[in-house]
Symmetry: C2
Subunit: 393 residues, 2 copies
């Protein structure tokens, strides 16, 4: 273990029917809320009505800001910042998944400053303060409901940029009702499971610690639970236990606990994925499924022994040396991802081999921004070429 600071003040209210408690929480932060949501699914599944009813009953005035898309754009978040400022709201209430919560975070940060929100993503400004943020989670995957990070896509370049954890952006309260996830389609259930696992595995695979049994078992245990829970939810979309476990595991996967004390680590799979979903507008979790399989193979063949550890402890691979154990583990992971309905190759996501050059060029720029010095045009394109078969093959 190495030194760390852990401080996660988000209050989680978990359980069926708990959206009704939102208003009582919200009114402690003020009287007027910007209500941020997406493209309308919260209206068809009843979550919007529950949210509005609870806020209204508590006397919290609502200013609506719907229409956030998946892989959300910075330009749209800026409109939210303008609305929050002109309406002088006291707080932001996010109702949705990671795209909505991340957009809401950037609005909460942007509403109290004249700094353009882009600066928080390129690290030329720090988020020193923000409006209070409350969230009603509808898609368990991103983990944004219990951390201080956010990801938005820059309009002019289509670069998908992620921040570090900003202390003011941890939601004050996040409400997790597993029953609102019953209506998530099978494909997005699978993508979400892969997304949550990726948040655990980035640190697990790239950490620099000499001995971390707490964190290793935390990650391995959550990965197994996510796969078991996804199996239940895919077999029966209304399986309360499967949906509950998937929801809490996705939050636990990215609430800073898995990385306590593991030392410096990085996000190579997110680096490799971000341009896929930015350029091809695919589901982030689906893109991660593809690049994780390729990156794990590349990393194992370049001396990363932790791929084999994952294979042994999560997939019970018994084989001898690290590279062969890792290869067996990657195939077991591929089989599970395929069975779940996630993507395992560029063809699944509609990406042609001819796209690699452009994706590589832009990913190299992201590697530079994030300081991932080990990555360059050669090995990035090599990993993408391992993501076949491709569209049209």
């Amino acid at each position: 273990m190495q030194e760390f600071v852990f401080h996660n003040p988000t209050k989680i209210i978990f359980g069926e029917g708990k959206i009704s408690e939102l208003g009582a929480e919200a009114k402690t932060y003020g009287k007027k809320a910007l209500l941020v949501y997406g493209m309308g699914s919260v209206k068809s599944n009843g979550v919007y009505d529950q949210t509005v009813a609870s806020l209204t009953e508590a006397g919290v005035e609502i200013v609506e800001f719907g229409g956030v898309k998946s892989n959300p754009m910075m330009s749209y978040a800026r409109k939210g910042v303008e609305l929050a400022k002109s309406e002088q709201v006291d707080m932001v209430v996010a109702v949705g998944g990671g795209s909505v919560i991340d957009t809401s975070k950037s609005i909460a940060a942007g509403a109290v400053t004249d700094t353009d929100i882009l600066e928080f993503f390129v690290f030329t400004s720090n988020v020193e303060t923000a409006l209070p943020l409350l969230a009603v989670l509808t898609i368990p995957a991103a983990g944004s409901e219990m951390n201080g990070g956010m990801v938005l896509t820059r309009d002019d370049t289509l670069d998908k940029l992620g921040t570090c954890n900003y202390a003011p952006l941890y939601p004050k309260v996040s409400i997790l009702d597993p029953t609102v996830t019953y209506s998530i389609p099978a494909s997005y259930t699978a993508f979400s499971a892969a997304d949550a696992m990726s948040h655990l595995l980035e640190g697990y695979f790239t950490q620099t610690d000499e001995w971390s049994p707490i964190q290793d078992r935390y990650v391995e245990g959550l990965c197994k639970s996510i796969m078991e829970a996804a199996d239940k939810a895919l077999a029966d979309p209304n399986d309360f236990q499967g949906r509950s476990t998937l929801m809490w595991a996705a939050t636990m996967a990215f609430n800073d606990l898995s990385s306590t004390g593991i030392g410096p680590f990085c996000f190579p799979n997110h680096m490799l994925e971000h341009l896929l979903s930015a350029i091809y507008d695919i589901a982030h979790g689906g893109g991660l499924s593809i690049v994780m399989l390729a990156w794990m193979k590349y990393a194992s063949e370049h001396g990363n022994a932790r791929i084999a550890k994952f294979a042994r402890n999560v997939f019970d691979i018994q084989a001898g040396d690290d590279v062969s154990a890792a290869a067996d583990g990657i195939e077991a992971f591929r089989a599970w991802l395929k069975k779940s309905g996630s993507y395992t190759c560029f063809a699944d996501a509609g990406i042609p081999e001819s796209g690699i050059e452009k994706i590589t060029e832009r990913t190299v720029a992201l590697a530079n921004l994030w300081g991932l010095d080990a990555y360059n045009t050669e090995n990035i394109s090599e990993i993408y070429r391992m993501c076949g078969p491709f569209k049209g093959e």
Copy 2:
């Protein structure tokens, strides 16, 4: 999984030399601190000097309140309350283990009210507010550095009373420097490991949830890590990795995470232990070692299938039915506790068989206070009789 609320706002600062950051944290809460500590070990190991230096450098005035004993008494905490009131301190700084932190919590709660602190322990009053509390942890075991509970012994009856989590009593900041635990004697290292495991196992063994893979693996993983880390720390008291892992695992064991969503659960082993350490003044963790072994056997033989689950998943017991697997697991646990130097029977703790009657009588009263309806004179004395051999045998 079942519904839950999780809200743990304690900031953890972990690492060698981090006590120097205390002053900067403390001064955000005021200018005058009650400094609570124990019987002097913090003076011999340098922790006191580091704490005073950091507070002084930050301009925080110190009012001293040393002399807290292990198994701390309510009467002594009341003296601290009076001192905090008369000196009008802004905060309480605890430097020590669970006894010191729990005493500090009761002072922080008592200093802002005219209610006697006993009322917080017998649930006739609620802790609605408290002075800010900061902690420098020296003995990883109790978990009090990252939760809102406290345990004190009532002077008139010697009952050792524990509270629920009171929101105002979560420390604002806890500093965990593993190197300050190098000087913990081997016996207390073993007791502390058992204590931390007990906090995980109470919920694991007594929970009422139908499916809880996240929480089960969390507990099983931490138990394995605690034993591995204790082995390292016992082999070499200055093993940084062993001490670090033991310290963080003990905190993670009782910070509310292991019980998220597992439904109602109870603390039978703490109920059985509290009178042992109150009457015989033994180490709490040592007492827990003894009663856990007996209670696990009793519970397994009375239909608790989770003892077998623990045996299989933590000690890799392969045997067939639940009762025999549990029995093998209990023996493996006993062997580990014995090897570590903890207690495994009443004789180890100097408790004669003749003491059982009095302990039972008082434990029955505690069972009533805590609402543990399944326990009565007959089965409580039966479990204590399973704790032999006894002193003098």
